[in-house]
């Protein structure tokens, strides 16, 4: 049991280091509070954005927390890959540059074969996607799906996109 834990931890930590480096341009790692007896302790996330000192995740800025959490989730996903991923507004806190980096990373992962369904109001995310499903509500609160806009084609019926951001 300890062996399988250690193996999983090593994999996820390895993934985290690589993914964090790319997404946040800095050094990140997962730390077991009690490496010899992991089950008696916990696991913290430490990260060091470029130029700054190593800090624990709770002390970071809102955007840095988001980016670090996303890198952590992606590390878990890379260890246990699924055929599709659904992400709901995970780019809320991110500035334009980080939203762009995230969108680029999702795009690259989707090219490798995974399907991504991402709810977002952010222009960088929408621009990097292959197609967009527009959702609006009619006067009585009923959802209307206004159309699937394949990028590169006429924007068509998707006024929902123009309203946001």
């Amino acid at each position: 049991k300890l062996v399988s834990f250690k193996k999983a931890f090593e994999h996820v930590d390895g993934n985290f280091k690589a993914i964090f480096q790319e997404l946040a341009d800095g050094q990140g790692r997962l730390v077991l509070t009690n490496p010899e007896q992991p089950f008696t302790g916990g696991m913290t996330i430490e990260a060091q954005p470029r130029g700054k000192k190593m800090q624990r995740i709770e002390a970071m800025s809102g955007g840095e927390k988001s980016l670090t959490s996303l890198a952590f989730v992606f590390s878990l996903q890379r260890y246990l890959p699924a055929p599709f991923y659904a992400l709901d507004e995970v780019d809320m806190n991110l500035d334009g540059i980080n939203a762009e980096k995230l969108a680029h990373m999702v795009k690259r992962e989707s090219i490798k074969g995974a399907q991504f369904i991402v709810v977002s109001l952010r222009k960088p995310m929408i621009d990097h996607s292959d197609q967009t499903v527009g959702v609006t509500q009619r006067k009585n609160g009923i959802t209307k799906v206004t159309g699937v806009n394949l990028h590169g084609e006429e924007l068509g019926d998707v006024e929902a996109i123009n309203e946001v951001n």
Binding site: S4, F5, K7, A8, F9, V12, L32, T33, F39, G41, G42, M43, T44, I45, E58, S66, T68, S69, L70, F72, L76, Q77, L80, A82, P83, F84, Y85, A86, L87, D88, E89, V90, M92, K107, S110, G113, Q115, F116, I117, V118, V119, S120, I126, S129, D130, Q131, T132, V133, V135, T136, Q137, G141, I142, T143, V145, V148, A160, I161, E163, V164
Partner: protein, 208 residues
Amino acid sequence: MYIYQIEIDNFKSFSGQTVIPFRKGFTTVSGPNGSGKSNIIDSILFCLGLSSSRVMRAEKLSDLVNNLSKRKEAKVRIVFKKEPHDRVFEEALDSSNSTQSTVLEQASQLVLGENAPVKKHAPKPELPAESALSQDFITVSRRIRESSSGSSSTYYLNEQVSTLTDIHEYLGRYNISPGCFNVMMQGDVAGFVNMSSVERRKIIDEIA
């Protein structure tokens, strides 16, 4: 494999039937606040039995039935398209009752395998001819019905009545399960920061 389309009928803010096509690759869903985007994600969680009502912001199952139409039933069907290079595990990787499911799995192989007869229900014009169906597509549906005695929930796998356990086991082989982190809901990101270090370590326990 990937999600080919989602059919939402009378679920949450969708009154009447809506068919949403998806493709391989990277799809965004966008629109104004309150329009129904997160409800589409909820429909995936609902259909595949991936989480509880509370996670879908409902106090009880019946809250998931559209409250504007008069109908007392809600249904979601997801059509998956298989791909030649799909990695299918003989046994659900993260199934914690893996010894029990082996017998179940062998039984379902017979019932739901590549050559199982597929019962026809309502017309499904978007899907290819039936002979091709079981070869290239997998369908999972869930329907809830409100009645005077409460709500009942029925699952269907490849158009045949099934159970949550069977569906979990079947999807588990494609690495879709409640234990995975492939669905991130609105606001989840903050959770990873706020959780205690012990809870975070337990995530690794779970996936090991």
